[in-house]
Symmetry: C2
Subunit: 500 residues, 2 copies
């Protein structure tokens, strides 16, 4: 650090030092040249170094600051290049007369405390939506598949195959629909396993299902238009609607799924219905065939569209998976949203839309405007993973493992929690719903007490909109058998303690 040097107070350099009121720190991460540049620039901008102020010769400045002349030269050259200083090194340099109003001194970022900036109404609306947060990888956080079982060796090898010596075209790939071989693989997978009617041209690869929902809403809806959403339902979709200025109309869900009857009564003019028919989130019910046909019929009559969220339908433990709405619909009114988060791993962030053929073009144009195209980094490996059969094999293995864990969870509940919590039948997916059998005990109270013992539960009421039905959500797929047993036992202690 440079200390004040009283013997040079009359020299210009001392005045510079005095005006700067700070020195250079050789121990700092920031290079000395950058430190000097920043401090001189701030002094000019703040007016502490006034216009036409003559700077001392660089060798004097260097000697005074205790740094090399090159350091000073570099800083002065930079300031000259940027117009803060005029003149030529060696022939005298002056602080420039800056056009425009010179802003107040720019203090270091840490001290910037401007007035609270306004944000847009849509940003405020999004900020106001309470999205339950899941706590990954602790029993029983929701939405987490079994990550220990994922074949990362295979995945890493496929990634390396494409990126050690990449195909030149890969590096500049910019198809807004995504990498064609991946779209082909997705279409074949969906047609075979989900009974959709999908061509590769209808598939749009997105940055996760969430980005797909955002894209669909922006292409399809005018600001303010009403949308049926499931109540209780996925809060993340309400955030999407808020971010696009659309209006959410909560429609109750019963044992057969979203009530089309209620939807027609509540908002007959809705232009879109958002449903999770395979495995309703969060209740877990499967939409009946009758309800599916009723919904498709409504869409056709109302000139509306259905946004089908098929977020975890790969995992079904009872019966066979029902065919997707997309495959049932003959009129091109279903926009299908899928994700690899649950069948690969969540941080991958690759999802996809299947859109009616005549909507592909507007979707792709808006997509290009929003985020150009999906990252190519993982797409070729993912296409290989699907085409090579590892994807289907991983799903089969996972389904068996999850079925086992489901059984362990049911057994542990039966043993430890009778009279306290009762599991609803688990037909599909990665999470279970439990009803609270103790009168007067709320789901949020249980969640809070459990959290104090390290157990992560999610209150069903947090997904309710007009009604806050009570219940507890438990993600079981990513939790090994011993942890399930141990944690359910601990949970029973927690709840027993609350009953007393």
């Amino acid at each position: 650090m440079r200390s004040a040097n009283p013997t040079k107070l009359k020299e210009p350099i001392a005045e510079v030092g005095g005006l700067l009121a700070v020195g250079l720190d050789p121990a700092a991460a920031e290079p000395l040249q950058r430190q000097l540049y920043n401090q001189l620039r701030d002094a000019v901008l703040s007016g502490r170094l006034p216009a036409r102020f003559r700077l001392p010769p660089t060798r004097v400045l260097a000697a005074d600051l205790g740094v090399s002349r090159n350091t000073v030269l570099a800083a002065i050259e930079q300031l000259t290049a940027e117009g803060y200083i005029e003149g030529r090194v060696g022939a005298g340099t002056y602080v420039a007369t800056l056009s425009g109003d010179v802003p107040a001194a720019a203090p270091p970022a840490a001290t910037v405390t401007p007035a609270r900036h306004r944000m847009s109404r849509r940003a405020a609306a999004v900020a106001a939506i309470d999205r339950p947060t899941t706590r990954p990888r602790k029993p029983f956080g929701i939405g987490i598949p079994d990550l220990d079982g994922f074949p990362f060796e295979v995945w890493s090898r496929l990634m390396a195959k494409h990126w050690r010596h990449p195909q030149p075209d890969l590096m500049t790939a910019r198809d807004p629909a995504g990498y064609l071989p991946l779209r082909r693989a997705i279409a074949a997978y969906l047609n075979a396993f989900r009974a959709t009617r999908t061509t590769p041209d209808q598939v749009i690869v997105t940055a996760g299902a969430q980005a797909g929902l955002d894209l669909a809403v922006r292409v399809m809806l005018e600001p303010g238009e009403p949308v049926w959403i499931e109540d209780p339902g996925y809060a993340g979709f309400r955030a999407v609607l808020a971010a696009a200025d659309a209006t959410a109309v909560p429609v109750p869900v019963d044992a057969e799924g979203l009530s089309v009857e209620a939807g027609k009564r509540l908002a007959p003019e809705a232009r879109l219905a958002f449903v999770s028919p395979s495995h309703q989130f969060p209740l877990g019910v499967t939409m009946s065939l009758g309800r599916r046909l009723e919904l498709i019929d409504w869409a056709a009559q109302a000139d509306a569209f259905i946004l089908e969220d098929d977020y975890d339908s790969e995992y079904r433990y009872e019966g066979r998976p029902l065919a997707a709405l997309q495959g049932l619909d003959g009129g091109g009114r279903v926009i299908y949203v899928g994700s690899f988060s649950k069948v690969m791993f969540p941080a991958l962030r690759i999802g996809y839309l299947v859109v009616p053929a005549d909507l592909v073009d507007p979707f792709l144009r808006v997509r290009a405007a929003i985020d150009d195209h999906p990252s190519i980094i993982a797409q070729p490996a993912l296409a290989d993973f699907i085409d090579g059969g590892q994807f289907a094999a991983h799903i089969r293995r996972s389904r068996k493992r999850y079925a086992t864990r489901k059984g362990v969870l049911e057994a542990a509940f039966a043993r430890h929690l009778p009279g306290m919590l009762a599991l609803r039948p688990i037909q599909a997916g990665l999470h279970a719903v439990a009803d609270i059998l103790i009168p007067g005990l709320s789901d949020t109270a249980i969640v809070e007490a459990a959290l104090a013992r390290g157990i992560v539960l999610t209150p069903l009421s947090s997904y309710g909109i007009t009604r806050r039905a009570q219940g507890i959500l438990l993600g079981f797929a990513g939790v090994d058998e011993k942890a399930i047993m141990r944690t359910v036992k601990l949970l029973a202690e927690v709840i027993a303690g609350m009953r007393r």
Copy 2:
């Protein structure tokens, strides 16, 4: 293929076959079981198999169709699970009475030709914007760095390091701001090389710069609010504005950058100004210090914000890079947008925003609504690449290579194109701008004639909004020296041919 069997016409199975009017194809990619399922389902939905129609025993169906009984059982079980068929296998099965209106038969996707669907006004507005397309990896397509020089071996090794045996936390990482070590690396890089004042908390990793622009516009602007944009300027930003219902106000660019004076006159109430001060796209001019201060001053007085697009400032050939507006501004009014597309490779799709500290929270909430969080796949490797110094080394190497190519381009123009095209000084970036010296010859005519000979040029006029200034854009960074010389020579022949 099953052919019609007239001897069994009276049997129920023949009736089914007749109603279906199609058979099973063992050679098709679709499994036989799925083919049968689809055909029976379509027959039920279309009413060709009426309610209460009794299906023949499965062994009869199997024999008639020439498939195994298991195939038939699987299809029937699926149809039963989904509610199309009632009864129990072995005890007689019937077509169910479906509730809801049964839709018309769902024809195969290829034959679906519904009426043209409506799309939202914003989708239509986006679709109406003419975005010049670049043709990657051909001389002289723009926006393409030198991809042969990228150290893919190093990159692949870093990727494998993180993904062969991934840290458990990586797989479920869901920080909406992005991977913290990458944000730290970006902040350090920007502070050292771009003279910004950035803390890691202010950095938001996005799916490319385009997604960052979209996010900024949605957080900051109400529908309809005016935004200053550069004229000529980046068409992709106009698409972003259209997708967010905002209003673009074209402001002329002169030799010092965007004219703040003109902006104030054209739209004093603008809430945002979009500028590329380091290297204006497409003209290549650098915004002067005076103009920078004037712009910052306007933002402070008008309660407006500046969106600073720093898309290729790493490559400067004359003088030193000017400090970013973000570092000049003391009032927290600059939102900085950066990209790795030009310094890594375009298909990576990783960009970032640096937002004022008090806007971080609303940005992250809207970000979470739009696309949750960025993919984790490439972020750890990119953080290592920057921290390990390979990033800076790659930039240094590339800058030298591009400076050489710039020199070759200038020499080739001087030799082959005098009196036809004249390059403007190339201070920075990956592309050059050439003026047309032949009166009456338009840039689009030259571009078209060149394309017929395999040369990719971009007309400057395609970026103009209110005025269509003439000129030719040439990307030179990704073209090797020999190709530059050869292509310029060929271009001279093309243009000489047009003069005659």
